[in-house]
């Protein structure tokens, strides 16, 4: 990373404004949330006296909840990659709007085979400036993070968003080429940079 900083003054989104699951989930059930308000200031034991058997009865109560399935969705993908830091700034890709929720899509890989569990995640990244030479590195970082964090039935497709980069085609070709990606990941310096980017992942 000896090169000059290319964009020294990018625009930063406020972390509180980034999309989160918490926000949208409580919006729909605001009432239950409010009832928990009081409980927030008291220990739970003050609210319902803890009978001697409480420890053992509690484990069965959540049975109903366990049945709930939570498929992997776009927000989950966003949470995985938005906390990667930019190689130039100690700021997350989410705050820099390099990745954004609407630019993430999950589709069946084989739409003609309805039973297939294979999915393709496509992520479009938007570099902060159109000639950013680090776009490839960012794309690789996103790719590595997703490949480490998603089950094998997911295919990962990372591309530069159309019109946001001067050499988008070039970069896309590089990111889509399995062998070139593999070769890049053999490069110690490059992996060092990517490991540094992934350090901040939450």
């Amino acid at each position: 990373m000896a090169s000059e900083v290319q964009n020294s003054n990018p625009t930063i989104l406020n972390v509180a404004d980034l999309p989160t699951r918490l926000g949208s989930a409580t919006l729909s059930k605001a009432d239950t949330d409010r009832a928990e308000n009081l409980a927030s200031i008291f220990p739970p034991s003050a609210y319902s006296s803890d009978w001697p058997t409480a420890l053992h009865s509690s484990s069965d109560s959540s049975d109903g909840e366990e049945e709930r399935e939570e498929p992997i969705d776009e927000q989950e993908i966003y949470d995985l990659i938005s906390s990667i830091s930019d190689p130039e700034h100690p700021i997350s890709l989410g705050a820099l709007a390099v990745v954004s929720l609407p630019d993430i899509a999950i589709k069946p890989t084989l739409p003609d085979v309805p039973d297939s569990s294979l999915r393709t995640v496509s992520v479009l990244i938007t570099p902060t400036i159109t000639h950013c030479s680090l776009a490839t590195v960012i794309g690789l970082g996103v790719r590595v993070r997703l490949e480490q964090s998603l089950p094998p039935r997911f295919r990962v497709d990372v591309r530069i968003k159309e019109g946001s980069h001067s050499t988008a085609d070039e970069v896309n070709k590089q990111l889509a080429d399995k062998e070139r990606v593999a070769a890049a990941l053999e490069n110690g310096t490059l992996m060092g940079v990517i490991a540094k980017m992934l350090e901040t992942c939450r």
Binding site: S8, T26, A35, L38, S59
Partner: protein, 1057 residues
């Protein structure tokens, strides 16, 4: 052989002998057997010898003799002669020591000091070439002269200045440098250095930056920091250095080493603090021009912070003595380029560099009132213009944040309403913009669309700062803000995480500290008015209201009003014929409990009032309700209401004075009723369920009383035995859980706190009446088991003499062939040491520090050996019937163990780890649905062990492989791991394994690989499957664990660059 010759022979190898010779000669001189002249003459042949070593020895002979002479012995003339002699011979060893001795004498004087100094300066080249310890001697001599004859050296002026600089040039030893720096500093501060400022500066600055690293076991204990501090004192000692020091220090900021930059910035801070303001002013803009890059393009957080300190320091110095603010001030000239640059950066306030610009303005404006005023004049108007023209909310928000930073500085400079320090002489320049601020922030807070939470929060925080700022808003203006907050809390729908409401509560709490009146006048009536008068009217909104009221009632007046209002609401509810749901009255009591918990009730002036209204009156009502058959208002017969009421009573009883407590003791069971109204529960023939429920109150009240309280009923005459038995019997037979719980805790409380030590056998007797020895293997009713455990809890916590027997008897219950008995007993082990609100240190319960350790160290070996027995017998036994009878015993013991583990601190666990770890691993092998809590407890114990001690501990026991395999098995989505928390906790353990401090450098040095490496591929592969778990929190934990293993467990120790 003469004394001199003997001395010359022995001086090198026998210091003691040499000293004795000198002593003898000195005595001779003193007794006039010989004269000093003779001694000096005797040196004659050696002193002109060609061999410098011999000359040195001869001189040190003289020195040694002088050292032994009494302080007053030498005459002025003798001293003079000797001084001249030593000065002439200064290049010979021993002369410096002689001079040091001489200068300590009373008759030594200023001209002699000058002569010595001159001699040193003339021979500096020769002295420099000596060994470290000899140079040290020279510096010490010089230092002594500095201390005692500074005037003489000072009068020598430039001669001594140059002389000292020449002498110390090239010194490299840290111990000598410490002395050199302190000598130099005296010269720098006290001499007229105008002719030689640069020379003097360079003599110290040559050592910058200090890169010294003390050798291991350094006997002198000099650290790099010591040297840095002294050097920094030198650099910053004189304003005349500024032309040299400031440019050089600024140059050092080009260094690539953050440590050098840190030293340079620290030195700059010191310079600015001590140079005179005119000098600081001359360099202020140069410094800004250089430092701004450090802040705007900060590489390291601490460098930017130090740079900000430098800039703030300059503003502070330039503000000294400023009484009239004008544009001609040096301060104004300094600030001009700064505000210009910041205004420039803030034009696009949501971009990255706006943040440092904010920090710069915030830091410098907090330096002083004049600095604040100048910055506000230059910055606020442009900011407001940008705000008006801003095209998006993100931009406006960033501007509000910037203004808030300035408000913070304003608070630092002008104080808050509650600040005690003196008022500032200047008018707050923000007053000019008061109405604009009020409008902008009010508009942003209340006029923005509701979804723009973070924008509104920014506005709220800014508004809050202005409201607490001293002498800024009028009360009615703060009142308007309070009304906004009330509206947000009462009228607005929840949005997202309700961050805005949380902030609004924080703001109200903050204002209540500064302007309690406003809260009482505006917020209180509005909120209390929304509290319904009957349960039917109550929707869930009241919880919200009570929550807010509870949180803002920190201030004394507000607290008092709140409690009174709530009590009257509660009384209205209690007087209604139909009570309906108890949730609303319970919430009111909870609120009272919460606010009282926040305050020191023993200091409250209204304590008596609360006692009458709550303890006496409400308990009596509860007792009367319990007896009455007619009333249908059942609020006070609900167990959960009684529980909360009991807690409030407990709190108040503890706070009351002793005489009051003695009075209460009589009423523990009668609950402040007359005999006609209510029959106390103990010894009552057949109390109703309602009546027995009042034991909840009795228990809480009793718990609040001190152990030696007077008048406790049923405890004397002759002793507590009957009461204990009665309570125990009732506890055993009770069917209602809450009531049984009260009886059990009551029993434990009596046994623990009120039973005299001499009467302890009564309790053990009771134990063995309930569980006759030998009957442990029979079927025992769950009620009895619980009673046994609670009674034991009371006794074990005070470490009664029977503790070990009690524990052994309880453990035999777990081996019962009856499965239910075994399981109930096993689960009850968590009761023994669990924190309890009744038996707590706050309540003055008798809890010995070693009790937890005792229980753990007694039980663990027993459980371990019992499980081993079972393991052996199951593998050897052939009859299925036999296995049928004992198959539950092993899981039951593991359950008992997990119960204990969940209630003790991890540091107790560590010494027993080798015994314990196999047991924990066996717990993870359980797969029945019942085992879920056991496995959860095991996983949380493991997590703590791993987090605090890392992998080496487990590696030492040789269990890494088996632990990892079991953890991985627990992460799989199988029916056995149905409970998602099991999978999450197992993943957390795996995460911690890779994350925990493995002491990697030590391993690398020892040439060993991480013990985790062998299982890395197994873990990474297995976790890949977990990434597809149906539950999101499990997947998240799996992602973290996998990332930690991929990142944290290195394939091979990497070469250091």
């Amino acid at each position: 052989m003469s004394a001199l010759q003997t001395f010359l022979l022995v001086v090198d190898h026998d210091k003691q002998e040499a000293k004795q010779i000198a002593e003898r000669v000195a005595q001779d001189v003193e007794n006039k057997k010989t004269t000093l002249i003779e001694v000096v003459q005797s040196l004659g042949e050696y002193i002109n010898d060609d061999d410098p070593i011999l000359r040195g020895k001869a001189v040190s002979y003289l020195t040694a003799i002088i050292k032994e002479l009494p302080a007053k012995f030498l005459s002025r003339q003798q001293i003079q002669v000797l001084t001249t002699f030593f000065c002439d011979r200064i290049q010979d060893g021993g002369a410096v020591a002689g001079l040091e001795t001489l200068q300590k004498l009373d008759r030594f004087n200023k001209p002699l000091a000058e002569e010595v100094a001159r001699a040193i300066f003339e021979q500096f080249e020769e002295l420099q070439s000596r060994s470290q310890s000899q140079r040290f001697q020279v510096y010490q001599l010089l230092n002594e002269l500095m201390l005692s004859y500074r005037g003489a050296l000072h009068d020598m002026g430039d001669e001594s200045l140059v002389g000292i600089v020449d002498l110390v040039t090239g010194e490299k030893d840290p111990r000598n440098l410490m002395m050199v720096f302190s000598i130099l500093k005296v010269v720098m501060v006290e001499w007229d250095i105008s002719n030689h400022a640069e020379l003097l500066f360079d003599s110290a600055y040559n050592y910058f930056p200090i890169t010294f690293r003390p050798p291991p076991n350094d006997p002198y204990g000099i650290t790099a920091q010591d040297l840095k501090d002294r050097l920094q004192d030198c650099i910053s000692s004189n304003s005349l250095f500024a032309p040299h020091s400031i440019p050089s220090l600024l140059d050092k900021l080009d260094s690539t080493s953050p440590n050098v930059k840190r030293d340079a910035l620290n030195a700059l801070i010191a310079c600015i603090e001590s140079y005179d303001p005119n000098t600081v002013s001359r360099y202020s803009i140069t410094i800004w021009e250089t430092l701004k890059f450090e802040i705007l393009n900060a590489q390291e957080e601490f460098l930017s912070e130090l740079s900000l300190q430098v800039l703030t320091g300059i503003a502070k110095r330039l503000s000294e003595g400023v009484s009239q603010i004008s544009d001609q001030l040096p301060l104004a000239q300094y600030l001009r380029p700064i505000t210009k640059e910041c205004n420039e950066q803030l034009r696009e306030p949501q971009q990255k560099q706006a943040k440092p610009a904010q920090q710069i303005l915030g830091a410098i404006s907090s330096a002083s009132a004049p600095a604040f005023t100048l910055i506000i004049r230059a910055v606020v108007a442009p900011l407001l213009t940008i705000y008006q023209e801003a095209d998006g909310i993100a931009k406006q928000r960033a501007l509000l944040d910037t203004l808030s930073v300035l408000f913070d500085s304003s608070i630092k400079v002008f104080g808050e309403w509650t600040s005690r320090d003196a008022e500032v002489a200047f008018e707050n320049p923000l007053l000019e913009f008061k109405d604009q601020f009020s409008e902008i922030f009010g508009q942003a807070l209340m006029g923005a669309i509701k979804e723009e939470v973070s924008f509104r929060i920014s506005a709220l925080k800014g508004f809050l700062r202005l409201s607490v700022l001293r002498d800024f808003f009028q009360d009615n203006e703060i009142g308007l803000f309070v009304q906004y907050l009330d509206e947000i809390l009462l009228k607005e729908e929840s949005v997202g995480r309700d961050d805005l409401k949380k902030e609004a509560i924080v703001a109200l709490t903050e204002i209540s500290k500064h302007k309690p009146r406003l809260i009482l006048d505006i917020t209180f009536p509005t909120f209390v008015a929304t509290l319904p008068d009957s349960v039917e009217e109550a929707d869930s909104g009241y919880l919200n209201t009570l929550d807010v009221l509870a949180k803002i009632s920190v201030e004394k007046d507000i607290f008092e009003t709140l409690v009174r209002r709530l009590l009257s609401k509660l009384n209205i509810l209690l007087q209604q014929e139909q009570s309906g749901s108890v949730e609303y009255p319970r919430a009111i009591l909870l609120t009272i409990l919460y606010v009282m918990n926040q305050r020191k009730m023993e200091e409250d002036p209204n304590l008596e009032f609360y006692y009458d209204k709550i303890v006496a009156s409400l308990c009596r009502s509860a007792a009367v309700t319990a007896t009455s058959t007619t009333t249908s208002n059942n609020i006070l017969s609900d167990a959960t209401v009684l529980d909360i009421l009991g807690r409030v009573c407990n709190l108040l009883v503890r706070a009351l004075p002793r005489n009051k407590q003695d009075e209460i003791a009589q009423n523990v069971y009668t609950l402040f009723t007359s005999a006609a109204e209510f029959q106390p529960v103990p010894f009552a023939p057949s109390p109703s369920a309602d009546q027995k429920r009042t034991m909840i109150l009795s228990t809480f009240i009793l718990a609040g009383l001190p152990a030696d309280v007077q008048n406790l009923p049923y405890t004397t005459n002759p002793n507590m035995s009957a009461l204990l038995t009665d309570i125990a019997t009732r506890a055993t037979g009770e069917t209602e859980l809450a009531t049984q719980y009260a009886f059990l805790r009551h029993l434990a409380l009596l046994a623990n706190k009120f039973l005299p030590k001499s009467d302890l056998p009564l309790a053990s007797d009771l134990f063995y009446t309930l569980l006759p020895p030998g009957s442990e293997t029979n079927k025992v009713a769950p009620g009895t088991i619980h009673t046994l455990f609670w009674l034991s809890k009371g006794l074990i916590l005070r470490l009664a003499p029977t503790t070990t027997q009690l524990l052994t008897s309880l453990l035999t219950l777990v081996s019962s062939p009856d499965e239910e008995t075994s399981l109930t007993a096993a689960r009850s082990f968590s009761i023994l040491l669990r924190d309890d609100e009744i038996l707590s240190a706050t309540n003055g319960a008798n809890i010995r520090l070693l009790s937890k350790q005792r229980v753990f160290t007694t039980l663990t070996p027993l459980i371990s050996s019992r499980i081993r027995e079972v393991n052996i017998s199951t593998s050897s036994s052939t009859t299925p019937q036999e296995t049928q009878e004992t198959h539950h015993i092993k899981p039951a013991h593991l359950t008992a163990l997990s119960g204990i583990l969940s209630t003790i601190t991890p540091d107790l666990v560590l010494p027993e780890l080798p015994t314990l770890l196999p047991l924990l691993l066996q717990s993870l092998d359980l797969s029945t649905p019942h085992s879920t809590p056991v496995r959860l407890a095991t996983l949380s114990t493991l997590a703590v062990i791993i987090r605090d001690n890392g992998v080496p501990v487990i590696d030492k026991c040789g269990h890494v492989q088996s632990l990892v395999t079991r953890l991985l098995a627990t992460t799989a989505f199988t029916p056995a791991n149905h409970h998602p928390k099991l999978r999450v906790d197992a993943l957390t353990c795996l995460y911690l394994l890779a994350q925990a401090p493995t002491d990697a450098p030590a391993l690398a040095r020892a040439g060993r690989l991480s013990p985790l490496l062998a299982v890395k591929s197994q873990v990474v592969r297995a976790l890949r499957a977990v990434l597809d778990d149906p539950r999101r929190d499990v997947r998240k934990a799996a992602v973290d664990a996998r990332a930690a293993w991929l990142r944290g467990v290195d394939d091979a120790p990497e070469e250091e660059d």
